[in-house]
């Protein structure tokens, strides 16, 4: 059995649970563990129950388990809500707000803060100190994590030390003696992947769970020379991005379902006018305003078909932070290479989950050069070419008149309505989709995981993969995960499923959207395992649910 430990920390909104959870995740990371952190919070600013689950393992992890080995309770509600799911767990309690529990390490945050004359926001440091000692984590590890990630580290460490000295070690988390990895949220990984793909502008209107991409890139704008814009609404967002693209700037937008609804006219414009743009669409539970801070995978059909008319689009659905980084870059490159809108389709689980990041970011791939074909004069923005891709020039290019158009247009970009030209230009755009399909081959658009020759397979997409891989490991199943969902990698999915006798589709929606898409391509499924309460599958839950449909 791989070494593994889970910690749940809970309190009220406003207690800083997310930050405290991230500090715990870093401590495990510094012990050599791979970590995943799930943060669960209702859509409000103060009050209400918040908790984070940090899962650390010798193996890569991309999902949490609901049972924890340690519960750090800042308030009584944390004990009441979670203790019963965690038999045998070790409690660490804040005695100011939690009733005494026999044998549980206990600290009074107010007393420790008073002793150090520290402000109340440092209360979590006491909790972290108490936990570190309870779990036998060497003090040097606590110190190095605090110095790296805590403002006013010295004072926070004094508070933590008092708690550390006050309690006894109960259950030792063994160090693994491996180098610590960077920890990134899915949204940060998307942001970095876009930057790696040459991002120069990011345009977004805040909407959970995409907002932290906006916040991250706004904070990093000087480091990466980014133009970050927060306009009046999502209609403006997408159209500004198209203006940026027309003028030659690699641009992305980010939103969730409701905001994307407002972008669909602009999306179709991008299809017709052949503007390259990346749209990060982070799903939450719908329909409508739904559950703003909970996850879901119910927008696959919407994103695959949004916008009037027919046009090529790329949709990639990464499963974890590593993939989010890699595929956000690929999305940017492909958007520009094929002059199409490209989606990074993620969800709350991935956006706001924190992961150990293992990618080498110094690989020396060159950015696709949109001008690679050279431009002939007189310039025609929509020149008809064998692969459908027209040489791209930007306004300001000497002697080139660059005419982009949302109406049906000729090669020069002038509005036309004559049937033969309509057909010619439609065929030109359709050929781009063929080019995109063959171009995607080199990126391996489908992952084959688990037991590759097992006759029962799970078909899944996006963040659900983490739970699928673990459940499949215990049940001896194959896992097939298409990362690219449009154009659908039919051939590669069929290859990955070769020899499968029973296909079980796992996804987080109520109707089985990937199952429906697969069926369209002649890939019938035998069973569907669906979840749509906003909470992602955990490996244990999924293991149970799959067993119900194994035969």
């Amino acid at each position: 059995m791989a070494k593994e430990v889970s910690v749940l920390i809970g309190g009220k909104a406003g207690d800083g649970i997310n930050n405290a959870g991230a500090m715990i995740a870093r401590m495990f990371s510094h012990l050599g563990y791979r970590v995943f952190m799930y943060y669960d919070y209702p859509s409000l600013i103060r009050g209400g129950h918040n908790f984070a689950i940090v899962r650390a393992s010798e193996q890569p992890v991309a999902v949490h388990q609901n049972r924890a080995d340690f519960i750090l309770a800042l308030d009584q509600e944390t004990v009441d809500l979670h203790q019963s799911h965690c038999p045998g767990c070790t409690l660490v309690i804040n005695s100011d707000r939690v009733k005494p529990v026999d044998g549980a390490p206990s600290v009074s945050l107010t007393a420790l803060l008073t002793a150090e004359a520290a402000p109340s926001i440092m209360g979590n440091s006491a909790m972290l100190g108490a936990f570190a000692k309870t779990a036998g984590i060497p003090w040097e590890k606590v110190e190095s994590v605090f110095f790296a990630h805590m403002p006013k580290a010295e004072q926070n460490l004094r508070v933590a030390r008092r708690a550390y000295d006050l309690v006894q070690t109960v259950r030792v988390v063994e160090p693994l003696h491996r180098a610590a990895l960077p920890l990134l949220t899915g949204n940060e990984a998307v942001g970095l992947g876009l930057v790696k793909g040459g991002l120069a502008a990011y345009v977004s209107y805040p909407m959970t769970p995409s907002s932290s991409i906006l916040h991250f890139l706004a904070e990093q704008k000087d480091r990466f020379c980014l133009k970050v814009v927060h306009p009046e609404n999502e209609i403006a967002v997408i159209l500004m991005a198209l203006g940026f693209a027309y003028a030659g700037t690699r641009t992305a937008v980010g939103t969730s379902g409701g905001g994307f609804c407002l972008m669909t006219e602009g999306l179709s414009f991008a299809g017709m006018a052949e503007f390259p743009v990346v749209i990060v669409m982070s799903q939450r539970t719908g329909p409508s305003t739904g559950l703003p801070t909970y996850s879901g995978q119910a927008d696959l059909h919407f994103v695959r078909s949004a916008g009037q008319g027919e046009f090529a689009r790329l949709i990639v659905a990464p499963a974890d932070a590593d993939e989010a980084y890699v595929w956000s870059k690929i999305a940017m490159d492909c958007a520009w290479e094929y002059q199409v809108p490209a989606f990074v389709l993620i969800d709350k689980m991935l956006s706001e989950g924190t992961y150990s990041f293992t990618r080498d970011t110094t690989d020396d791939e060159t950015l696709a050069d949109p001008l690679r074909k050279g431009i002939a004069m007189p310039y025609a923005r929509y020149r008809d070419t064998p692969d459908g891709i027209s040489p791209l020039a930007f306004p300001g290019t000497k002697g080139a008149i660059v005419k982009a158009n949302s109406y049906a247009h000729d090669e020069d970009g002038i509005t036309i309505e004559e049937a033969p030209v309509v057909l010619q230009m439609t065929h030109k755009r359709m050929r781009k989709e063929e080019s995109l399909i063959s171009g995607l081959d080199r990126y391996h658009p489908v992952n084959l995981l688990g037991v590759p020759d097992a006759s029962t397979a799970l078909l899944c997409w996006g963040s659900t993969r983490g739970a699928c891989v673990e459940a499949a490991g215990r049940l001896g199943l194959r896992v097939v995960q298409p990362v690219v969902l449009s154009p659908f990698p039919e051939r590669q999915v069929k290859e990955a499923l070769a020899g499968v006798k029973r296909l079980i589709v796992v996804e987080e929606n109520a109707t089985g959207q990937l199952a429906a898409v697969a069926r369209q391509y002649g890939i019938p499924s035998d069973a569907r395992v669906l979840n749509y309460d906003g909470r992602s599958f955990t490996p244990d839950e999924l293991y149970e649910r799959i067993q119900e449909v194994m035969h």
């Binding site: 990371s29 203006g243 949302s406």
Partner: protein, 282 residues
Amino acid sequence: MARTLITGAQNTWCPGCGNFTLQHTLKNVLADRETEGKSLDDVVLVTGIGCHAKMADYLNINSVYTLHGRTIPVATGIKLANPDLTVICCAGDGDAYAEGLDHLIFAAKRNIDITLIVHNNQVYGLTTGQYTPTSPLGFKGKSTPSGTTEYPFNPVELMLASGATYIARGYTKKMPLLQTLIHDGIAHKGFAFIDVLQICATFFNMTDYYQSRVYELTGHDATDFEAACKKAREWDYNRDAPIALGRIYQRMLPTFDSHYPTRSITKEEREERITRLLKGSV
């Protein structure tokens, strides 16, 4: 060699349409620009959807023929991407005042350095005659056969309230003034708004009404906000009153685009900075 400024696209405006005047005015402004030695390669025309928007097909310059109501956000993105470009929008009154009103207010609020020319014919031309936000009370259009029951709003006053830094009103039957206003609007560093009373010969011909009421502003201090408000309120697009033409308000403020970095990053810098950021995340 001077560029041929008109494309070969077939012109489909009605005879007597005020858009011809706007086309020739823009052509003159562009030709003057070329004579002054400025390249037309750096000019981008952004149009909405409507009769006005056909300008994109007819003028032989860089253009984006966008969506109904969406000139401004596209133009804003272009200007932010490349501040060296001169960005001119041709929008309709349905376009700028109904479908895309949010963008208009924000363009003024931000003072983005673009020029917006609103072809205000007080009607939806292309969709064959419905009322717009500037149609007078009681306007009988195809969607309001018994007459509208809502007052028009006053776009000039709206722009004053929203912070536009160049506000003017032109008229398609006063071409020399129109040319000056558009030229000055383009020269203005900041958001330039020009409401152009444009004759629609087919669906709402206001020629007689305008001819007896318009006058050119003289002795008006365009830097005086109070004086500008007074002039803006003189005619409310509804009741009978003298209609002032000319530059109503102008002020200099830093532009939105000037706050964005123009420096870009090399591939090596990008890689090195990603690595450094990741080190900080350990």
